[in-house]
């Protein structure tokens, strides 16, 4: 088995004439937490979308868990073990917590009934509880519909999917962008819990403090290219900002942007 859970080689995405992502060579070790930073339009989200199969890459390779992968859609990626927490919450407001966690992959009984096969509520509830305990997510009542929960609780539910389905890699695209201070703290606690449990994580964030608090390594994108690969110990906020704005470019990326 490879040491890397995820590796991309020359990952490139063109939207017509727009070169949104150019030759991204990226590696992520098992259990490592990496942040992706960069200005708006720098290619962060494009990079994530190529990995999770939301879009099809123009060229390059994605190697996940030692295998060359071509995900046809986000569902394929999820089945392979990549769980994505989207910026826009992919939750159904009128359903409760277990229903949302298991949406599209319900545990069922009497499968010969086709679309009318029965839901195994008990088993899904137990798995949900286990997932919540594992991530330390606190929800007053999992039988309440998502509509009656705060933004933080909703985001926690989205993140709890990761733990419930024993994924190999979690990708979070600005998970706290819409949250208040306390809710952000709650989500950050969960991310720390994931770290302790050895989950690999890619965190897309604009929040410098959060990034330095939570991750091991910082990747900076600028104008579609990777321009820095920094260990947290070797850098500081000012340094990262100069990479983001273009005042500096990493030695190994010279000539890239």
């Amino acid at each position: 088995m490879s040491d890397y859970i995820l590796e991309t080689k020359g990952l490139t995405k063109h939207y017509g004439g727009v070169h949104a992502l150019v030759d991204a060579n990226f590696t992520l070790e098992r259990g490592e937490h990496v942040a992706i930073m960069g200005d708006n339009g720098a290619g962060k989200s494009t990079f994530v979308r190529q990995i999770t199969g939301v879009e099809q890459r123009t060229r390059g390779d994605v190697i996940f868990d030692g295998e060359d992968v071509h995900f046809a859609g986000p569902l394929d990626a999820r089945e392979a073990g990549i769980e994505t927490v989207f910026q826009t919450l992919a939750l159904a407001d009128h359903l409760n917590v277990p229903d949302n966690l298991f949406l599209g992959r319900e545990k069922t009984k009497f499968d010969w009934l086709g679309p009318f096969r029965l839901l195994d509520y008990k088993s899904m509830r137990e798995d949900t509880m286990a997932g919540l305990v594992k991530t330390g997510v606190k929800i007053p009542n999992i039988k309440n519909s998502i509509a009656n929960m705060s933004g933080g609780q909703r985001q926690c539910v989205a993140i709890a999917r990761t733990a419930t389905f024993a994924s190999k890699l979690t990708i979070m695209d600005e998970p706290t962008a819409a949250l208040g201070v306390q809710e952000t703290a709650q989500v950050e606690n969960i991310i720390r819990t994931l770290k302790e449990q050895g989950e690999s994580l890619i965190l897309v964030s604009h929040n410098m403090r959060q990034v330095f608090d939570l991750v091991d390594r910082i990747i900076v994108f600028r104008r579609g290219r990777m321009v820095a690969n920094l260990r947290k110990e070797d850098t500081n906020g000012e340094d990262v900002v100069s990479y983001i704005t273009g005042a500096k470019t990493g030695a190994e990326f010279e000539g890239a942007a």
Partner: protein, 357 residues
């Protein structure tokens, strides 16, 4: 709520966080309406709406009226069960009344007897081959016609991305045209005895309640039900979760169509004749039952039980106005106000619930 120290990790069932089922509100409304009619009845008519006030019956209830209340909503109630599912997906079905009309004509054509009091059936649509057929033939034809109409609705909505309002409006006009073209406006009459049994007596009520129970179960305990709610609640999330949304929508519209077809079979069996104008405005009454029963037109919310109670509310109001000897026009004015009131109340409750969370 957002404090990290709060909550129980989802480990216990916090009763204070329990949600009040919406069906209870609708049921309370039903009780309130009954009480109003009882009070008005006691004041103006000196008798009770639902209870036996003159010792005419063996039980404490006025059974004859109870029976009328439920039988007059049973057939449209069957349509409403399908319409409820369509509305929960954030769709609408305007075609069900016309589908009843078309299905009534077509199904009845296969249910006719060969001889009426010794003479050949004067209303026969087809030749001898279509007369005196086993009862299963017209029933299957009826279900099939409804299913086909529903499938066309579903294909238009799910795969051609035509808004449900337009797709089913088209089907509404088309199916009514079919109903009138089928026998050029002539009624189709004289069904076989076996066919006439289907809608006789309390059978429509048993079929309605049986289907309501079946679909209550399906909506709450099967993948079909869960996905129906999920699509109405957040279609994008449903798609991202891997639900085949178009295929599911097609199935929902097909079920609604089949239920409208079944309603047509029961209606023609009960009336012993089919006419091209049958089912006129049934689609609106079915939608009204669902809406009064707490089904949200925005999708994701509502239940079969709620719709059944909504149907009973309409039945009680209809009977209540007859009981008070008030004209049908008042009844329609009041029904109109109740529909708008029910939606307004629901909106207000949603806002309050959102503010509390």
């Amino acid at each position: 709520m957002s404090d990290t120290s709060e909550g129980t990790g989802g480990l216990s069932y916090d009763k204070s966080k329990r949600q009040w089922p919406n069906e209870l509100n609708v049921f309370a409304a039903l009780i309130l309406i009954i009480v109003i009619f009882e009070v008005l009845g006691a004041i103006f008519m000196q008798q009770s709406l639902l209870f036996d006030s003159r010792d005419r019956f063996d039980s404490i209830f006025n059974e004859a009226r109870l029976r009328i209340i439920i039988i007059q909503v049973a057939i449209i109630g069957i349509i409403a069960i399908g319409v409820t599912q369509v509305i929960i997906t954030a769709g609408i079905d305007l075609s069900s009344g016309s589908v009843v009309g078309a299905t009534a004509m077509i199904a009845m054509s296969f249910a006719q007897v060969a001889e009426v009091s010794g003479n050949p059936n004067p209303k026969a649509i087809f030749g001898e081959w279509a007369l005196d057929l086993p009862v299963v033939v017209p029933v299957l034809v009826g279900l099939g016609v409804g299913l086909t109409a529903g499938a066309i609705n579903g294909l238009l909505v799910a795969y051609s991305r035509i808004p449900p309002f337009i797709a089913t409006l088209g089907m509404m006009l088309f199916a009514r045209g079919v109903a009138q073209w089928w026998s050029l406006g002539n009624p189709v009459s004289f069904p076989t005895d076996a066919y006439a049994v289907i809608g006789s007596g309390m059978n429509p009520v048993f079929i309605f309640l049986g289907l309501a129970l079946l679909f209550h179960f399906i909506m709450n305990y099967t993948v079909y039900g869960k996905h129906t709610y999920a699509i109405g609640s957040n279609e994008a999330a449903a798609r991202m979760s891997g639900i085949n949304v178009p295929r599911h929508l097609l199935l929902v519209y097909m079920i609604a169509g089949a239920l409208a077809g079944l309603a047509a079979v029961i209606l023609t069996s009960k009336n012993l004749t089919a006419q091209s104008g049958m089912g006129l405005s049934y689609e609106l009454e079915a939608i009204a039952m669902a809406v009064i029963g707490g089904v949200s037109l925005f999708g994701g919310r509502g239940s079969i039980i709620g719709t059944v109670i909504g149907a009973l509310i309409i039945g009680v109001i209809t009977s209540g106005f007859t009981f008070l000897r008030l004209g049908a026009f008042y009844q329609e004015m009041v029904l109109g106000m109740i529909i708008v009131g029910a939606v307004a109340l629901d909106q207000w409750q949603q806002k309050r619930a959102a503010a509390r969370a």
